[in-house]
Amino acid sequence: MGTLYSINKTNWDSFLSRLSLECDLYAPKEIEDGWTYQLLTKDNIPQIRYEDYKYCSIDPIKIFFLPIKETVTESKEEALGSKKRVIIGLKSCDLAALSILDKVFLSEDFVDPFYQEKRENTILISSDCLDAKESCFCTEVGGNPFPEQNFDFNLTLLDGDEFLVEVGSEKGERLVEENKTLFSKAKEEMVQKRQQKRREMKAKVKGKNKVFSSKVVKSFQDMLKAKDDSALWKELSEDCVECGACTNICPTCHCFLLIDLAQKEKFFKDKTWDSCQFNGFSQMAGGADPRDELWKRFRNRYLCKYSYKPENFGLLACTGCGRCIDACQGKIDKREVLNKIAVSP
C-alpha cells in the first residue's frame, strides 16, 4: 500500500490547479447513461463533483493511450512529444486493464513508442467506486471496486470536506513532496473509515453477482479449453451481430489494423482499432481464414481473455468493468455465457 495523506477539497483544488500549469486536465463529465471525460480549464477545477462519478466511465481507459486512429510512421519528433496529461476519475477496473496493455505494448522485445510516451506523460488519479452498475463484476475476476494498483493518486471520499489520498507511485510521491504544505498525514480513523466503505462496496458488487459464481472464474482456463465444442459455441453466439462493440468498449482489447495511405508524394501508415469479432480479421492472402465462422470469432474473444492472456501474462484480460455487457446489441451477458459453459456437460 502507498503512503496515505489527508487533504481538504480547497487544497486538493489548489494541487490540481498547480498540475494544470503543465498538464492538460481530463475530468468526468456527465452524459446520458453515464459519464465521459472532458478537457478542463483551470477555472472548472472546483466544479468537479467527485461524488457523482460512482463507477467506471463509458469510455475505456485505452482511449488515452491507444487512440482510435494514429499515424505510426512519423519520425519520433513529429509524432511524439504530446502534452502531459492528468486523468481524473478512473476506477479500479480501468487501472487493472493497464496491466494487460503494458504487457502488450511495453513488452521487452518490441516497445510501442507511441503507447510508451503517452503512458509516461500521464498522471492517473483514481477513486474508489461509490456504487455499482448491474453489469459490474470486478469482484468475480480477481478485482475490487477500489484501486490497488497502477494509479499515481487514489482518492477516497469521506464524509465532509476531506479526501483520503493514497499515493501509488514515485511520480506521485515527488508531486506530494513538491506540494507538501497542501497534504497532511492521514488520521487512523480515516483509514478505518475507508476500510469500512470498501468492505461495504465489495459486498454490494458481490451481491449483484450471486448467480455468477466466482468458482467459475477460478477454473476459466481449464474450463474453456475443455469446452471446445462447436455446437455449444454456436448456441452461445446466436445473438451476436458482429458489431464489435464489445471489443471497442473493452479496456483490455488492443487489436489493431495497420492501413497504408498515400497523400500526394507522402506515404504513411495509420494504426486503427480493429476487432477479432469482424469477419475477415484473421483471413490470409488467398482467402483461407482460421476463424471463418461467427462462433469461432465469438469463442476467440473468450479464449483470449480467460485462457490465452492468463497463460501468457498470468493475468485475466477481463477486469469485470461490465462495459461489454452494457454495449452488446444482442443483449449477451458475458457472465451468463461463462455460467453456461461451466454447467454444460
Partner: protein, 271 residues
C-alpha cells in the same frame, strides 16, 4: 527510441518469373537487414498495403534479400505489377526462425509444396552452408504440374550436390515428366528416414501442411521434431495487433516456425 513501424526502403533489383502466378523479387535494402532463416519480413507497397513474407534467399547473403511471391491477394497483385528499379518498404525481421543448431548430426527431411518452397529454399541454403554438420538432407517437393515448380533453374545444381537428396512429385504430370506423380506425401513412403535421429521441416499450402504432418506422424516422426512454418495474417509483426493469433501464440512473435508439439492442441491449427 526505435519505432518498430518504420520502414527501410528497398529497391527491386531484379524480378524472376517462376511460374505464371509466382515471381521472385530480388531486393536491395538501403540499410542491410540481417535475418535468421525462417524469420519473416513485412513488405510494403507504398500507399497500398503491407504483407508478410519469409525470405527465400540465404541469410549469409547480406546485401540483398529475395522474396518469392505468389499472386494471391490485394498486395501481392500490386507487387506483381511492379517493375525493376521501383522501391518498396520493408521492416523486420520478425519472429523466430529454425533452430539450426538443434538439427546438427541429424537427418533433415524437408517437405515442401508449391510456393511453400520459398522459406524452405532459404533454410536449405543455410543447411548447405555447413552441409557436413548434418547426417542427411532430403528435400521432398511437390507442385501441381511441372510448370508450377518454382526455382526451376536451381534444381539441376542442387541435384549435383552430394549430401542432398531430392525427390519431386507433381499432382498432374505431362509426357516429359520422369519423376513422381501424385500428392507430395507419397514421396515420404520413398525415403527411409531414421525417425529417432531426424527432424522434419514442413511448409506448403494449408491442406498439404495438414496431411503432410499427419503422414509424418504415421511414419513415426516425433511431434517435437516436426517443424511447421505456419501461415497467418501477420500484420504488425511485433505481437500487438492480434491478427495472427494461433491459440495462445502470436505467429509473428512466437513463430512462424513452431514444432507440431507446441501447437497440436490449438483447435484452429489447420485452416
Amino acid at each position: 527510441m526505435k519505432n518498430p513501424y518504420l520502414l527501410t526502403q528497398a529497391k527491386i533489383e531484379k524480378i524472376i518469373s517462376e511460374t505464371s502466378e509466382i515471381k521472385t523479387f530480388v531486393l536491395k535494402p538501403k540499410e542491410s537487414l540481417l535475418f535468421a532463416t525462417g524469420q519473416f519480413i513485412e513488405l510494403t507497397v507504398p500507399g497500398v498495403g503491407e504483407a508478410p513474407f519469409t525470405p527465400s534467399s540465404s541469410p549469409y547473403e547480406v546485401n540483398k534479400i529475395e522474396v518469392t511471391i505468389m499472386r494471391a491477394g490485394f498486395v501481392t497483385e500490386k507487387l506483381h505489377q511492379m517493375k525493376e528499379d521501383e522501391v518498396v518498404g520493408i521492416r523486420g525481421p520478425y519472429g523466430k526462425g529454425y533452430p539450426i543448431d538443434k538439427f546438427y548430426n541429424k537427418e533433415v527431411l524437408i517437405l515442401g509444396g508449391g510456393v511453400g518452397l520459398a522459406p524452405l529454399r532459404s533454410f536449405l541454403l543455410t543447411l548447405l552452408h555447413e552441409v557436413d554438420k548434418f547426417k542427411r538432407i532430403i528435400l521432398c517437393y511437390g507442385a501441381k504440374t511441372p510448370q508450377d515448380i518454382v526455382y526451376k533453374e536451381f534444381f539441376p545444381e542442387w541435384k549435383k550436390l552430394s549430401g542432398l537428396e531430392i525427390l519431386r512429385s507433381v499432382d498432374k504430370a505431362n509426357k516429359n515428366w520422369k519423376e513422381y506423380e501424385g500428392v507430395v506425401t507419397i514421396l515420404l513412403d520413398e525415403v527411409k528416414v531414421n525417425t529417432k535421429e531426424s527432424v522434419a521441416v514442413v511448409c506448403g499450402p494449408p491442406i498439404m501442411m495438414k496431411f503432410g504432418t499427419k503422414k509424418l506422424l504415421e511414419l513415426g516422426h516425433q511431434p517435437k521434431n516436426i517443424y511447421l512454418s505456419m501461415e497467418r495474417n501477420m500484420s504488425c509483426g511485433i505481437g500487438k495487433c492480434g491478427h495472427c493469433a494461433l491459440g495462445k501464440y502470436y505467429v509473428c512473435k512466437d513463430g512462424p516456425v513452431f514444432t507440431y508439439d507446441q501447437i497440436k492442441d490449438v483447435s484452429e491449427i489447420w485452416v
